[in-house]
Structures are given as structure tokens and as C-alpha cells.
Symmetry: C2
Subunit: 115 residues, 2 copies
DNA sequence: TCTATATTTCCAGAATTATAGAAATAACAG
DNA sequence: CTGTTATTTCTATAATTCTGGAAATATAGA
């Protein structure tokens, strides 16, 4: 898990700071490494194909999703490594040594470790 | 830690999706619950007072920071609870049961639990 | 009250981002 | 080659956000 530069972190946050793109990303996070075809995302979230394509391009440029072609479809998947880097960037060196503050953050990991 | 609605999550991500605001937030995350006076933030990050004020207003409206007056100064502090909610929102129901993917997310908590 | 410090509010021009229609490209099946 | 499905690219308008100067507000001290 590579450390992010601030510009790259901003890019990631910007990509997620949009209701439709955030929904897409969360759908992919839930879907796992197998990913989901663009068309299926469009159907599930009810977005126009060109709009979806633009959204996926933003997420992809930010490094948050990967894609591969499978026949006529293009399969998108969340990049968990990048997601972890982004979250880590936000909490890095958190709270200056006060355990009582940081402890609740463990909940994030516990929730994430759904499995 | 209350669960976030997507609109509120987008608001938080938008607030952080800006280099100067992200630097301010991370400064406050490191500083702990005591917080930092606006003037000191301006000095440390070298931003104009009016620009800083606008940035702090955005972070505050997004619920990511709190403020209190102390004499002539206004002290800002990170809202760790909200930060945790936002991180949780991103990883919720992650990866559909595949432990190998989610495990690295524990790093986030470990890094956060700096103390 | 007068002055200095700390911070915010107001404002307008500049820059960036979002949206959707239409056309283009890619892959497959007959 | 033709037609169909899947997705992207192009393009222009609309909407939002950023920036910094100037003025306003709040607090404290003499």
C-alpha cells in the first residue's frame, strides 16, 4: 500500500465527492474483486450510459477503480489498495497520542473486516 | 457514531477534496481535541485569513470540525466522530465476504491507533 | 472611548466541473 | 458485410466553486 501525495489524495476525494460517483464506488466496494460490468452498474443505479462512462473515467483517473474488457462489456472493480491508502492518509498521525480519541477508529476496520 | 446519509457523506468528501482544506483538516486531526486557533492555522499553513475562514466554514458546515471562542481567538478542532462515520461509510459492507481483500483495511485502524 | 488584534462577511470575476444529446468505436452473431 | 449491443468520445450549455480585496464584527487592553 503506497503512501499518497496530497494532490493524489485530493483527486481521490474529489472523485468520491459526487453522489452518483460515490454510489458507483460503493457498489463496486460491495461487489468485490470480480467487479461489475458498466451496463449492469447503469441499470442498477439508473444513470445514462454516457454519464456513467464519464463518472467511471473520473474514478479510474483517480485510481479508485480498475477496468478490463470482457467481450462487449467492460468490467469495473474497486481498487481496495488505493481505497486503503486514501483512508490511511486521512487518519495519519491522528490525535497526537490520545488513545481515547483514536480507539473508535478501530470500528472502521472491524466494519470493513466484514468477512 | 451516527450513520451518514449519502448527501452528508458527499458534503464531507467535498469539503476534504481541496488541497488547502485537506491540509487544515489533517493539521487538526494531528492536533487532537484541544484544537488550534484560526490564526495559528493561518500561520502554519500560510493562507490568507479570509481564505482560511472560508475553508474552515466549509469544513464546519460539513460537520468535520467544531469551533469555540477563546478570547479574541476561535479554536477549531477535528470532529473525530464524524471522521469515523465518513470512513465507515466508504467501507460499509465491503467486498462481499472476501477476507483476503478486507484484511489490509485493518492497517487503517492500526495506523490511526497511533497511541 | 480609542486602538490593536483576530476573524468573518461581502462581493465579483475567473476557473472548474456537471450534464446530456449525438456521433463514434468496439465486439460479437448471423 | 450487416445489424445489434456495449461503451466511450465529442461538444456546448449550465451550474458550481475558488480566490482575494475591502469592509465589517468581536474582543481585549490602555
Amino acid at each position: 500500500m503506497a503512501a499518497l501525495k496530497i494532490g493524489r489524495a485530493v483527486e481521490g476525494l474529489s472523485a468520491l465527492a459526487h453522489e452518483s460517483r460515490l454510489s458507483i464506488f460503493r457498489l463496486l466496494v460491495r461487489a468485490g474483486t470480480d467487479g461489475v460490468a458498466a451496463g449492469e452498474i447503469a441499470r442498477k443505479l439508473d444513470v445514462l450510459p454516457n454519464t456513467l462512462s464519464a463518472s467511471l473515467a473520473v474514478l479510474s483517473n483517480a485510481g479508485l477503480v480498475t477496468s478490463r474488457r470482457d467481450g462487449r462489456s467492460i468490467i469495473y472493480a474497486a481498487d481496495y489498495d488505493r481505497m486503503t491508502s486514501l483512508l490511511t492518509f486521512l487518519v495519519e498521525d491522528c490525535c497526537n497520542g490520545d488513545a481515547a480519541i483514536c480507539a473508535p477508529l478501530a470500528i472502521v476496520a472491524r466494519r470493513a473486516a466484514c468477512c
